[in-house]
Symmetry: D2
Subunit: 436 residues, 4 copies
């Protein structure tokens, strides 16, 4: 038990009228929507990196946070960090957490030493998890911070980095499997390029495809039942990241025959950086059959970098969870907060209050989305808009055997002259606003 | 023969020191680079729409151009427009031109009347083309201007629009085939959505996939030997366009099994709107095996809309043609100027001068790229950077049979500790600047 | 009386539970917040241009709307348009409307004929306004659509355009004055440049300063009591517009000694295009003493052009009206909807429903803002954050007589070592979400 | 003398055909353009921070550079750093350098200790500068990296930070004065806000205005003859920075009566982040009479953060130096490279080669600009475009005594009907391309 949050009691649901900054106003974990509780729908996870590792640096400033476990360069400090982390998970009552290897253990002098430390920390986690603690939503490997990855991880021009990554991912998959993680995530922060001038694009994509294939094979070999997830992001830290967005990842998976083996972990902020809305990326993932999990946060629409702010828009959350529900809800996935405090938010209470607000926003969003679906508020008009396609003649145009010239001849014969109908966008937007 | 350009003589190459605004300073059509002349490398095409159809409107202003053939709503005016167009092609000495159906004929009262007019104009073109005029680089259908397409063309919620499009594309393919067009292009300006709230994404993608499959089948049926090209663009006029960028189009083609049948026509401005550099999109198309042709222009990097300006950066042109040359050069494709005058550039001479400058920029770019390749200026350092992958041990990691745990074990055993090498980006940028 | 909205009854307040798409759920005009009703706080205006003039064009498509008064090129059609407009004002129950000269009358063959027509329409409006109709929030001149303005209005390289503008603005000010308009707005859509290469920036700014000075003098000459307002926008239609944002306009006014004579009309969408939030621009205008009125709409954060959508974010509206209330509320200004339907929203009902939703969003925002202020929810923490500046020693540092070296010496002597305090951004964001 | 660059000989001019990556191809310091040499025109400065302080971190990665003087936390290491820095200045042959206090000395335990160390380093610099070394273009204070500045420097909610800043700026001005610096720069990296929710905009602007006034007073008190320069930037690290762009800074200076005392240091990358071209910001500064100096670099147009790359576009450099020359050239200002290596560019040679390329780009740009001016290539057409304003009647409209109604009456009487003329943008762009 850490003293870091000693003054803060577990957060409870106190209803929408509560002015308590450390109470839930919308998230009542046991409230049921259909046959799932909100806890089961939302499957919240708190991340290790932003909360317990990040020191508050930005490109023009150094450390602002003063956590007692910093610089966390010994195993004792790593355990002190874990104590604080699990305290925070307990205070928030979240069912899951997520981590990178690099978040939880100081790097060793060698690969084997690093892996040994990772396993020791996994032992420590196991005790805490057994003790009523949260489960592991997913594990992952940090293959972007250390200078060895500066030119890529699996896509590095140096094959020794590729080998290093194989060892690192294997170790992280082993630990994730041992801790009963429900997914394993790959975010290729350095899988991309800074300049095309020194890059062999085709070769690097082949390396990445081969690496991912081996990851999938290894998953089956060890019997890991969780999902393998890729997290798309268009750029930053690289100038161009290969996992640009959901559609790009889909093409990549198809190219290497992995579209049935790998899904996506979609992040709100990354969607925005790619020029998309979050709901677009979720709808695309659903349509392409690769929806996995979400990283919930928000990005400043007017800053070109990855701001990883806590979600605070009830409207955006409603549209996001609408897509999650339309996809059938989460299976192995969940709602991980990949969000960090602003660097001026120095206090332990800021860590708790930020998550409380974010969980409430998600709960509001989920409830709005649920009611829109129950009321057929959007699906009714949508079905009506496409109703023309339900006729036999219309279906025939999409069926095998239809030809361009055949359809053309029919259209010309009947003097086809289609008349537009209102798309009613503003009315639909107003409908959404009745629910948020 | 039109009088519109009566005062302007055919443009000739006069060398780099010429100050004549209507002379080529870099584009000498007969100059050879390797075994192709510059004319054969660049395969310039002038487009019909921006030069002879657009009236100078912008979102806050009406017509500025006063062309004698406006409003071009009769067949006589359509022929007058064609006369001016072919005069301009002749003055510039370009080997190709491109058009939409809608550019060349007034729309009729019915599909059949519209097709009839299109065919009459094709007859008119045939005479002009026979008479030493330019060839057709590609034809295409305008399925975005008329209000019937406001909610999509093949992706429309109304199946009658789908049928209308089938007839329209068939007619345009027929004309393109008759005129010996070397490609047929599909730009899905309205194939996307304005709001997800009224859109069935999955259904629309299926419609588009089916439509494209029928286009490919029809191509084979009529024996058209040209390439079918999709032109990616991320947004505008729609909020989201399904053919977002090269990687997205690739995924779409793979999904519908069309990746060997369809290539891409890459536009500089569209690349930029998608958050990419032009050379990125070209390199990606080359890597994925779907490089077809280019629409040359530029987009203001600081305006979020499609500005379709004439190219004017020697550096950007060099990097673009570098990719074209690395892809083996154009086969059926070419360099189409999808660029329009600024709306204040009112004079006939502006139409000519803008193309002269653009052709010169492309010629400069091509020559720079050619010399960089001859000198191994970029490929040498690139090969060196990836040289580690040439060892047998490195190749083995990418070969069948390699496993994550096998590679990991080896790496751990040898204490893998990769050391970064300089990426030398600035030096490579300096090298490029030696050539431009 | 027009038949255009014949099926639509006046919109009434029916409470938050209403599912009627043509009823107010939040805007109860007579509900009081403090000593003003919501109608008095919000001072809604409907604009003429987007609703009755715009034909649904976009850069890639033509007319989609089919209004019976189109093309409105005769005075009879202009009156039919006015009939429909005043019907809509009546149905919505808005207290104000706004228009450009160009919106309400067909342009004549000469300046004097155009002015004569404008005055005839003003006569027609007077009757309708007398008849319980809305008042005029502001008038303005359209000096951007016609090709004569393509290179600028008052900033044109051609002095004859400057003179033409003087005549046009005088006529519009006269009509605005006659109709008891409460403000006169200048939006310099073409006051900027497309390329610096042909632009004399200094000369153009001087022309604009001189023009504005004459406008102010003329206002006083005719006894117009309303405010003169400039509407900032960074770009589009120009590459760079001189009235870039609030801070830029302030510098311009200071340069020409007009900062006490002219205020700003701040538009949400323009704020976003300039890289700012709406509340930023409002706070800046308040701070600089030039807050006047607002154009309410929203811009797609991910489209670089001016989308002029109807507001639909309760959170954004709350923060905007918070600034309006902090500025003391509107005096001559109001809430004008400078918003247009999406071009697929074809029906008369779309015109009404879009405004109903927008008025409700504003009402929600106003009420949220009002309660935040009543509860001291944000101002309390803000005062506390700056409390250190209330000490005498702190105040002295900002007072006359303080010197850099004096303050430095004191700081060094006492070993100044300031300690940061949490900025608590997330807690404040959570507080806002308690109110929206 | 450091060993860091021991293998690298001083860089010399070897002509355009040289393929030596460490030779100048365009920058011949002694070549004269008019009565100044290129060295005198360009007044190059190398900055301390990016070259000798930055460790290669980015938001997702740690240190990549391994400089022998890192972590530079002792005075000995600070001197080793200085030795390397002055070696590099010598190798490049630049006439100037620039630094922040924080770049050159480790921070002490107290203000006075920090100042003492700064002065010791200034002693060390004096020796090196006396010894044929470069002069100081400008000095500045780093008031953004340390956590004490996280909420602002002079605009901090805590008055103790304001006092701390007074002491810091005084110390830096003293040192700059002692070293005969030609300017003193203020870049307010933290003078802005992260969220309006906790910010008192008006109060903070007043603090900043007062602070700057004291800086100006102190300059006069100590007899510093250099210019005080503000460096505009729109955002990053803050969400909004008060010194947004040149026009905003001008308004701020006017508000506090400082427009004749303070000029701007304009940075290419900051211009781009603000939505402007570099030449726009320079032209604006010239027009407003506040042009001071430039920070030369470039920003990736497609990354929303401050990339500080080395300039590499001959065209952009030409347009920038065109404005510098039109402003009369530099007086106290110069060309400081505020550019940093990409973090993968690890080698000492990269530091040199990047500057060599950048200096050559500037030299190419200057020469192009010079010739355009000599040839009247742009000014001729520009004068012609505005020639109408040279008539007496036109001048009278801008002169005192002209009135809106007077001009209007004249225009109506003569039936003013201005006719647009071509803006010829493409021709002008082609002209520029003849010179680059």
């Amino acid at each position: 038990m850490s003293q870091y949050f000693a003054d803060i009691a577990p957060v409870t649901y106190q209803g929408a009228d509560s002015a308590n900054p450390l109470a839930f106003r919308h998230y009542d974990p046991k409230e049921k929507l259909g046959d799932r509780t909100m806890e089961e729908h939302l499957r919240f996870a708190v991340c290790y990196w932003h909360n317990f590792v990040w020191e508050g640096n930005d490109p023009f400033g150094g450390q602002t946070f003063e956590r007692p476990w910093f610089p966390a360069d010994t195993m004792d400090l790593a355990r002190a960090k874990a104590d604080a982390a699990f305290d925070m998970f307990r205070i928030l009552g979240v069912p899951y957490f997520c981590f990178h290897d690099h978040d939880v253990r100081p790097e060793g002098d060698s690969l084997t030493e690093s892996h040994k430390r990772l396993n020791e920390m996994a032992d420590y986690f196991e005790t805490k998890m057994a003790d009523g603690g949260p489960k592991l939503l997913w594990g992952t490997a940090n293959m972007f911070s250390n200078r060895r990855y500066m030119a890529g991880a699996s896509t590095n021009p140096d094959p020794e980095v590729f080998a290093y990554c194989a060892s690192t991912v294997k170790a992280c998959m082993d630990v994730t499997h041992r801790l009963n993680g429900e997914n394993y995530v790959l975010w290729g922060g350095r899988e991309g390029y800074e300049t095309l001038l020194n890059t062999d694009l085709g070769r690097e994509l082949d390396q990445m495809g081969r690496f991912l294939s081996m990851v999938v094979e290894y998953k089956h070999k060890i019997g890991f039942k969780g999902a393998i997830l890729i997290e798309p992001k268009p750029q930053e830290p690289t100038k161009h990241q290969y996992d640009y967005d959901v559609a790009t990842v889909y093409g990549f998976l198809k190219r290497f025959g992995l579209e049935n083996e790998v899904k996506v972990n979609v992040e709100q902020g990354h969607a925005i950086l790619a020029g998309h809305s979050f709901e677009h990326e979720l709808a695309m993932a659903r349509t392409l059959g690769i929806f996995g999990s979400i990283d919930m946060n928000r990005n400043d629409y007017q800053s070109g970098w990855d701001t990883d702010q806590f979600p605070n828009s009830p409207s955006e959350a409603a549209l996001a969870y609408y897509e999650v529900l339309m996809a059938g809800g989460f299976t192995t996935g969940g709602t991980n907060f990949d969000a960090k405090l602003r660097r001026q938010s120095l206090d332990p209470e800021d860590l708790i209050a930020s998550h409380v607000g974010a969980m409430d926003i998600c709960a509001r969003g989920l409830k709005s989305a649920w009611r829109m679906i129950q009321d057929d508020a959007l699906e009714g008009p949508r079905r009506d808009r496409y109703a023309g396609w339900e006729s036999d003649a219309a279906r025939a145009m999409l069926a095998d055997g239809a030809t361009l010239d055949g359809i053309a001849a029919d259209a010309e014969a009947r003097g086809a002259n289609p008349q537009p109908r209102s798309g009613a966008q503003e009315k639909l937007e107003n409908i959404v606003n009745r629910y948020v």
